[in-house]
Amino acid sequence: METIEISKDNLDKEGSLLPPDVAENIGRIWIRGIVTDDDNGDKSSGGIVWEYKNVDEYEKDTVAEIIWAFGENREVLYDLLAAYRIQIQDESAVVSEFEIPLNQEASMLEETFSADGFKISNSESRDIYVTVKDLKGLKLGNKKSPFYIKALRDLSFRQFRDGITDVLFQDRKGLMEDIAWVSLDWFEPDISSCVVMDDIVKGFFLIHRTATGILVAELLFSVDMGDNRTVLELIRFTLRETIKKYSPETRILLRRHNDMVHSLVKKLFPDKEGEVVMTGHRREKAEGMAE
C-alpha cells in the first residue's frame, strides 16, 4: 500500500475520494493531503487532509487540524495516520486536532484515532448552518448602505491586496491561515463586502462559495472592530445581497472560531445550535511520536 501526497497536479488522478468541498482546498499553501492506493494501485482506499495553523505566530503552537479523514478499513487508517505523523514534522506541528461529523464511518475513525493516541469526545460543533431563508427572518431594515460600504467586485486587485495586508498587520486572518496568498476570485464578488474610504480598504466581510454551493463566511474584519455600527453595516450589506442572489435553500456556514463570532451568531440566530460532532486532540512529540 502506497501513501501519496496529494497536490493540485495529481488531484484529478488521486483525489477521487475527496469530497468536492475538501478537494477544492488542495493547493492552498497550508493545506496538505495524503491518500493511499490499494494494493493494486488502482484506486485510493483512504486519505487524510489537514491544515496547518499558527505557522508564523511566535507565541502559539503550530497546530495540524485534520479536516477530512477516510479509510476503507482500519489498516488503511493506521497506515495513513503513521504517514501523517511523519508529514506533520515538516512544519513542526505540536498539536493535532480534528472535528468530524458523526456519520457512519465515525465509529471506525474513533477506534483508530483513539488507538493512535488521540483523546476523543463528542461535543457541539463550532459550525452553525443556516439558510438564506433564515436570513430573511432577520430584521435588516430598508436603510441604504453608507457610501463607504461596497461589494468586493468594486475593488481593484491592488485595493484588495493592500486591504489584506492591513488585515495581516492587525494579526487577523479569519478562517484562512493563508489569507495573504488567497486570490481575489476565491471570494464571492457580489455578496462579499468591504469598507472603502479615500480609496483605501478598511474592512472586509469575505464569503467563499464551496464546490457544493455552501456559503462560508471566511473573514469579518474592520480596522476598528470596536465600531459595531460599521461591522453591522458590512454584515447587513452582505446578507441583503445574499438574499437577493441565492435561493432560500442555500446553506451558509458560520464557524464560531472566536468569542466575537460566537456572540454575533448567538445574537443573530439564538435558536441555532451546532450538531454533535466527534472531536479529537493529540499533543505531538518533537520526533513525531504522539505523547
Binding site: Y58, F169, I200, D224
Partner: protein
Amino acid sequence: MITLTWAFDIFAILLSVASFFLNMRQAKAFKREDDLFGKLCLISVAIAAFKIIEDTITPGLNVEELKYGSIISGYFYDVFDLGLLFIWILFVDFMIYRSEDHLRIIKPDILKILLPVTAVETFLAAAALYGTLLLDMKRTVPLMIWVIVSYYILTMIKAILLIISIKKLSDYRRWRKGPVMFRGMPFYIPIFWGFLITFILAYRIDLNPLATGIGIFLLYLSMNAERRYIDSETGFFSKEYLSLLSGTYKNKNYEGGLGILVSTDGDTKVIIDILKKSKPTELDIIRISKGEFFLVGVRKPRSVLEIFKKNMNETAKEEGINLSVKYDLYGKGENAEELFKRLV
C-alpha cells in the same frame, strides 16, 4: 448672584485654564521650549479675569447695549460666530487629514446650506445696524423684532446642520488614524479650546469680527508650533519625529518593533500616493528626505513584512518607478533611529 454673563466669564476662565494645562502637558510630552499657544491661553485667562472685575464695577444693562439690540439678539449673534468657528475647524480638519472623503462628507451641508444661511445672517446684522444707527426708536423696534425672530430661525437651522455635519464626521473619523500627536488626542483639540475661549471672550467684549481674526491667528500659531513634526507636503511625520521616538519620548508600542525603509529616486508624488493608499493602519510613516520614508510599528512576523515588501514592489512596478524596500525588526535594546541607520 451668578448671572449669565458671570457664567460665561467663569466658563471662559475654566476653558482657558484647561486649555493651558492641556497644552502644557503636550509640550512636556514633546519637550518643547516654545509654548506660545500655552502663553496665549494664559493671556485669555487674564482677559477673562479682567472682564469679571470690570463687570463687578459696572453691572447690568446700559443704554449703549440697548442701542444695539437686546441681550438675546447679541447672544445669537455670537452663536453665528460659533458657526463660523465650526466651519473653520472642519476645514482645518480637512487640511490636516487631506481627505477628499472627509470634505465630501461635510461639503453638502456646509457649502450648500450653511454658508448661504450665514450670508443671510450677515445681511440681517447689517440691517440691524442700519436700523439702530439711522432710524428713530419707533421704526427701530419693529425692525429689531423682525431681525431677532429671523436670527432665531436661522440659528436653529444652522445648529441642526452643524450637529448633522459633526455626526457625519465623527462616523468618518473612526476610519482615519492621522498623526496622533499627543498621547492619543488629536492635536486640533487645543485649537478648538482656543477658539471657544476667544469667542466667549468676544461675547463679553463685543468684538466679534476681531475675535474671529484672533481665533484664526491662534489657529495659525498653533499649527506652526506643531509643524516641525509633520511633513507639510504629505501629512506624514517629519524626520524630527524619528528623533523624538528615539529620544526622551518613548512610545512603548514601538519597543521591539519593526522598521521598513522605502526609498525611491523616481517621482516622489507617485511613491507618496502609493504609501498613503498601501500603508497598513498599524504603521506610522516618517518622511526622512524627499524620496525616503521610514515606516515604524509594532513587531510583526517577518513573513508579513515580506508580503508588504512584495506588494510595494509590485505596485511600484505597475506605476513605473524604482523602489527599494528594506525591513527589519528592532535589535535588542535598539531604538527607531538606530534601526533606521542600520537599514540605510
